[in-house]
């Protein structure tokens, strides 16, 4: 720079000296133009090493009046260099010079009164080796006109360059500069390398083109008022102004902007450093005040240490001056409002790859920031921040205070925003007065919230992560601690509604900062009073609500959520349809995870633990328990529709000291303990005890096929249970289970039925096996001891299989079947064996037997009684007589006769002498029942020496037709007796002996044999079932 300045100075001086010589010569010897021209040509080589072409040189008086000057036309310096755009160094169309010769001769002072170069063309070129085409003026080294011999004071009163063009090409830096329409006005003096000058320059068009810099300015004016000492120290004020300047440093920095520079500077060319004092840069309407130091290093780096301040800026305008890369990084943001920068500093190096560090205090006034992905803009933004702009690395902002509005939310923020130009990184404390409705935009569309909350949030996150998290709800990218104190909280999602007058929320992101290994968000909710609704039917009131939960992956759907929640309540009041539950101090743990199989959906596990719990299902069921624990799980299958297949629930219920009341059952069911495991395939009872009325039962076993049964009642739900008891009242149990699972049509009351009848309807669709072991039971009028056996209930059929028991009357074995295809058509079948039964007790226990076999009440004593019978019953359990079928076998020894009157009548008429001892030695009776007819097959009665065979028919209307044949008698006669009529009014008449050969094998007829064969078949088939 310094060398260039020297070269320019020497060149300028040489031209001036050359002109002065011409003037001197002119005054001394020249009288004609030709002579003057020749003389100039003769002496020019003394000063210039290149070819010089001169037009006409002439004296001028008028143009330089009152001084005499020289006017030279068409001065050209020709200095061709390889690479130069032109072989012409300079071409001056007209050069006018006038000087004060008196001063030159007498005072060694060159006073240039006038030096005007008109329409000049200057081509400056420097090749890659640093050689310049301007090195054509002889210096002290190559001319006699040395610097030392040039001790004149040069006083330039008027030096002008008019309508000229200068081009400068530097091959070393690939720089091209072009100045057109150049007018230069210089005044000043020059002596001993010191220049004191006032320079005014204006140009119609200036262009500068370098590899990384393109500058273009129109109507540029440049003024300098100052001095240059020793070609080294520049002091003065430089002013530059242009209404239209464009600057591109790889990207547009200025574009058709108005630029005014006022640079009071002190610059040292030796070390290319200087100082700006109260410099001012005006860019359009904005002012930048500068104070500080600038240094240009040998490698062209510009080192700056400047203080800087601005007037009030309009933010939208400022954004347009930012580098494109910065603008693009902020493409999601829109700024508006007023901005001022104070206490700024620009410190560091500026070159092709480096930008200086800028620090500044930034103040905004009612600005606004609109982030495209947020539902509302930030308005009324008052910011006080310290900007640390480092475009080389990361730029940061320390936010001392930021107040703003976000819709109806009032924000107060402090902290740091780092990496401004790349990925905005926030480390902030935010306090807010937040109407919950303002976060609607951050929530899924099906979620609505209401209320107002005080927020205190410490958060660390990048803008990119925040945007992503708001988009995909993955909160693991963010770091935050927050507390929310919400008033009048309300939450709605689909059919779920929750509300609380006061709700405190603690939020920690990510959850691993609170609980190791957890992901997503940690949330702690606390409310004294919270209500929740699901649909119209489910309501819950939760008191002393405290929820600690972590949740992750809740972007798309509920089944994607990873949720761990612990809920503790002091009181829960729950209503679902007709179900009401009141629980004291319940605790719920809920864990949900998405299934590993995509089609499956959600896996959930719930643990419910409650102390005192009351519940009811309408008036039908009431439950009160001391404690209830439920461990449940659900495995969602999205491809299924029905509840069980969709959720595949599992649950382990544990109930202690509970009471259950069932509508229609007067007795309360007491449950000392019940523990069962339920899943969609199986209901497993662990050892559980129940007390129902007088009955106590201990139940253990499994029920399977529940899901299949619920899905389709045609499928069977199967159960295998072991029931042990000290006492069972079967009447109560039947009342308890009556009608379960039956088709309503089956239960529909028909006109022929008594509407008040409520017969036992056997459950359908189930296949239950009960192993029964009961010390004592009662059924109807039976007292049953040591009752054991099997009971099965299979698809509408109840079977008591080989139930064995004893009572005071007999040892008994019963197999019974009961079906209820419809209310007024009930099937009852039984295979009943009584061993060692006392006939009188039998008739007392089962009075109906007396109806079927009225002759039994005639006898007393021990007998065996086997009967298989079946009939359909009406809804009031009365038999449908037309459907009655039965077969019975009665065998007895040593029976006594109770109905002595009738027996006496018979023995008298048959001439049988019993001597007052009415004893039957043996009895072997087979009978069948068909509809209302009881047919007694012929049977043998032994009374002492007598034997008789009896048979007959007994009708249920109490009419009968019997026949008795005396087959063995000490008397020679064999009489027969017919007994007919109503039982209350029998008619006796002698008749021929009908069965005299029946028990005489050698005399039996075929009919007798057939009769005995049928009797045997009946007896054998009945006894076959006795165990």
């Amino acid at each position: 720079m310094k060398k260039a300045l020297k070269i320019i100075g020497i060149s300028l001086a040489s031209i001036i000296v050359l002109a002065i010589i011409a003037v001197v010569i002119a005054f001394s010897v020249v009288t004609s133009s030709n002579k003057l021209t020749n003389l100039v040509k003769k002496y020019v080589p003394e000063f210039v090493t290149c070819e010089v072409q001169l037009g006409k040189a002439d004296l001028t008086i008028f143009k330089t009046f009152p001084n005499i000057g020289v006017e030279i036309d068409n001065v050209a310096l020709i200095n061709p260099m390889q690479g130069s755009p032109s072989d012409t160094l300079a071409n001056i169309e007209k050069l006018i010079v006038s000087a004060d010769l008196k001063k030159f001769w007498k005072e060694d002072e060159i006073v240039v009164r006038k030096c005007v170069l008109e329409n000049a063309f200057v081509n400056l070129y420097t090749d890659e080796n640093g050689n310049s085409n301007l090195n054509v003026f002889k210096t002290s080294e190559d001319s006699d006109t040395t610097a030392s011999s040039f001790n004149y004071l040069v006083n330039l009163e008027e030096v002008k360059l008019k309508d000229s063009k200068v081009i400068y090409t530097d091959s070393r830096s690939a720089m091209k500069a072009n100045v057109e329409g150049l007018n230069l006005d210089v005044k000043g003096n020059f002596k001993d390398n010191d220049i004191d000058a006032i320079l005014a320059l204006n140009s119609e068009n200036v262009t500068l083109d370098m590899p990384s810099i393109v500058l273009n300015s129109k109507t540029l004016s440049l003024d300098f008022d100052g001095n240059v000492n020793g070609f080294n120290q520049i002091d003065g004020t430089l002013k530059l102004a242009t209404p239209d300047i464009c600057l591109n440093l790889g990207e547009d920095y200025l574009k058709n902007d108005a630029l005014n520079l006022t640079l009071p500077l002190h610059f040292c060319l030796d070390n290319m450093s200087g100082t700006l004092n109260k410099a001012q840069i005006a860019l359009n309407n904005y002012l930048i005040n500068l104070d500080g130091d600038v240094e240009i290093a040998d490698n062209s780096d510009i080192n700056m240490d400047l203080d800087l301040s601005t007037n009030t800026l309009i933010v939208e305008d400022v954004m347009t001056y930012l580098p494109q890369s910065v603008v693009e990084s902020l493409s999601d943001l829109e700024f508006a409002g007023k901005l001022s920068v104070t206490e700024a500093q620009v410190k560091g190096t500026f070159n092709d790859s480096l930008m200086p560090l800028i620090t500044a205090k930034v103040l905004t006034d009612k600005a606004s920031v609109n982030i495209s992905s947020l539902p509302y803009p930030f308005t009324d933004v008052d910011l006080e921040a310290l900007l640390d702009l480092n475009l080389n690395e990361k730029s940061n902002v320390e936010v001392s205070q930021l107040t703003a509005k976000f819709h109806d939310t009032k924000l107060n923020v402090s902290g740091f925003v780092n990496d401004l130009t790349d990925n905005l990184n926030f480390d902030l404390n935010a306090k807010a007065d937040l109407p919950m409705a303002d976060i609607k935009g951050f929530l899924p569309k099906n979620v609505k919230v209401q209320g107002r909350t005080d927020v205190n949030l410490d958060a660390k996150f990048t803008l990119d992560d925040l945007m992503k998290s708001l988009d995909d709800y993955n909160l693991n990218r963010l770091t935050a601690n927050g507390t929310l104190k919400i008033k009048n909280f309300a939450f709605d999602m689909d059919t779920i509604h929750a509300s609380a007058p006061k709700l405190d929320v603690d939020l920690i992101l990510p959850a691993s900062r609170k609980i190791k290994g957890r992901k997503g968000a940690y949330v702690a909710l606390a409310s004294g009073d919270l209500t929740a609704q699901v649909g119209k039917d489910m309501n819950a009131k939760l008191k002393g609500f405290a929820l600690n939960a972590t949740a992750d992956d809740f972007a798309d759907a509920v089944e994607k959520i990873n949720l761990n929640a612990d809920l503790n309540l002091s009181q829960l009041d729950f209503v679902y349809d007709t179900i009401k539950v009141n629980a004291n101090s319940p605790a719920i743990t809920l864990v949900t995870t998405p299934s590993k199989q995509k089609s499956k959906g959600l896996d959930a596990r719930v643990i419910f633990n409650s102390k005192q719990l009351d519940g009811n299902m309408g008036k039908a069921y009431l439950l009160n328990t001391e404690s209830l624990k439920v461990t449940a799980a659900a495995h969602q299958n999205k491809n299924k529709e029905d509840f069980l297949n969709k959720w595949n629930p599992e649950a382990d219920f544990s109930l202690k000291n509970a009471e259950v009341q069932v509508d229609g059952i007067a007795e309360t069911i007491y449950i000392p303990n019940i523990d069962f495991l339920f899943d969609s395939h199986e209901l497993g009872f662990k050892k559980s005890t129940i007390k129902i009325g007088q009955s106590d039962m201990s139940l253990e076993g499994n029920v399977v096929g529940i899901k299949e049964w619920i899905a389709d009642n045609n499928n069977l739900m199967k159960g295998e249970m072991q029931l042990t008891s000290n006492f069972i009242n079967l009447n109560e149990i039947m009342d308890l289970t009556s009608g379960l699972g039956s088709d309503p049509d089956t239960l529909a009351v028909q006109e022929t039925e008594n509407k008040e009848d409520n017969p036992f309807i056997v459950p359908k669709g189930i296949d239950f096996y009960f192993g029964i072991k009961t010390k004592k039971a009662i059924y109807d009028n039976f007292d049953l001891n040591n009752l054991g056996g099997q009971m099965t209930v299979k698809d509408g059929t109840l079977v008591l299989q080989e139930i064995g028991f004893t009572n005071k009357a007999a040892e008994m074995q019963l197999t019974a079947m009961y079906r209820s295809p419809r209310k007024n058509h009930l099937f009852l079948g039984m295979d009943f064996h009584l061993l060692n039964v006392k006939i009188n007790d039998l008739l007392t226990m089962i009075p109906y037997i007396d109806t079927v076999v009225p002759m039994l009440h005639t006898f007393d004593g021990e007998a065996e009684f086997h009967i298989a019978a079946e009939t359909y019953l009406k809804s009031n359990y009365q038999p449908k007589v037309s459907t009655m079928r039965a077969a019975a076998d009665i065998e007895g020894q040593n029976l006594t006769v109770r109905d002595i009157t009738t027996m006496t009548k018979i023995t008298d008429m048959l001439d049988v002498s019993v001597n007052g001892e009415y004893k039957i030695d043996s009895l072997d009776v087979q009978l069948t029942v068909f509809k209302d007819q009881v047919d007694l097959y012929p049977f043998l009665i032994s009374i002492g020496k007598y034997k008789a065979v009896a048979s007959g028919r007994q009708n249920l209307d109490q009419t009968c037709s019997y026949h008795i044949s005396v087959t063995d008698s000490p008397l020679p006669t064999r009489l027969g007796l017919d007994i007919t009529g109503n039982l209350n009014n029998l008619k006796f008449s002698l008749a021929p002996c009908k069965y005299k050969n029946l028990y005489r094998p050698e005399r039996r007829s075929d009919t007798d044999n057939m009769t005995l064969e049928i009797k045997k078949k009946i007896a054998d088939s009945l006894k076959d079932n006795v165990l």
Binding site: N824, K880, I1014, I1018
Partner: protein, 120 residues
């Protein structure tokens, strides 16, 4: 004379012998038994495979709910075996007194019976 007496005694014996066997009368056509019959509210159905069913609508029982039996008709002796679900059998025998395309009557040894008419 002794020869004639022998012939008379033989004829009488033959006559008695004949009268003691069941005799098909013109009133009983065994082929007509198949089908459905009723006497008031009592219904019986005789099928070709030797099975049958009985029900009484007065007891609110329908044909679908009828109780089944097996039967055989030997001359005028109608035998029915009613098999109960509890593994027992009730045997019934009747004497058919009339059986044609339209009517069907039988009675047992106690004089109890039905007079059915065919159900179309």
């Amino acid at each position: 004379m002794k020869k004639y007496l022998s012939i008379i005694i033989g004829c009488l014996m033959l006559a008695f012998a004949t009268s003691c066997d069941p005799v098909e009368t013109n009133d009983v056509d065994p082929n007509q038994i198949f089908g459905k019959w009723h006497d008031g509210t009592v219904y019986e159905r005789y099928d070709a495979d030797g099975t049958g069913a009985t029900w009484d609508t007065a007891d609110d029982v329908t044909e679908e709910e009828a109780q089944t039996f097996s039967w055989s008709l030997n001359g005028t002796r109608l035998a029915q075996e009613h098999h109960g679900e509890m593994s027992f059998v009730v045997y019934k025998e009747y004497n058919v007194t009339k059986l044609d395309a339209y009517s069907f009557s039988y009675e047992d040894d106690y004089g109890f019976g039905y007079s059915f008419v065919r159900v179309n």
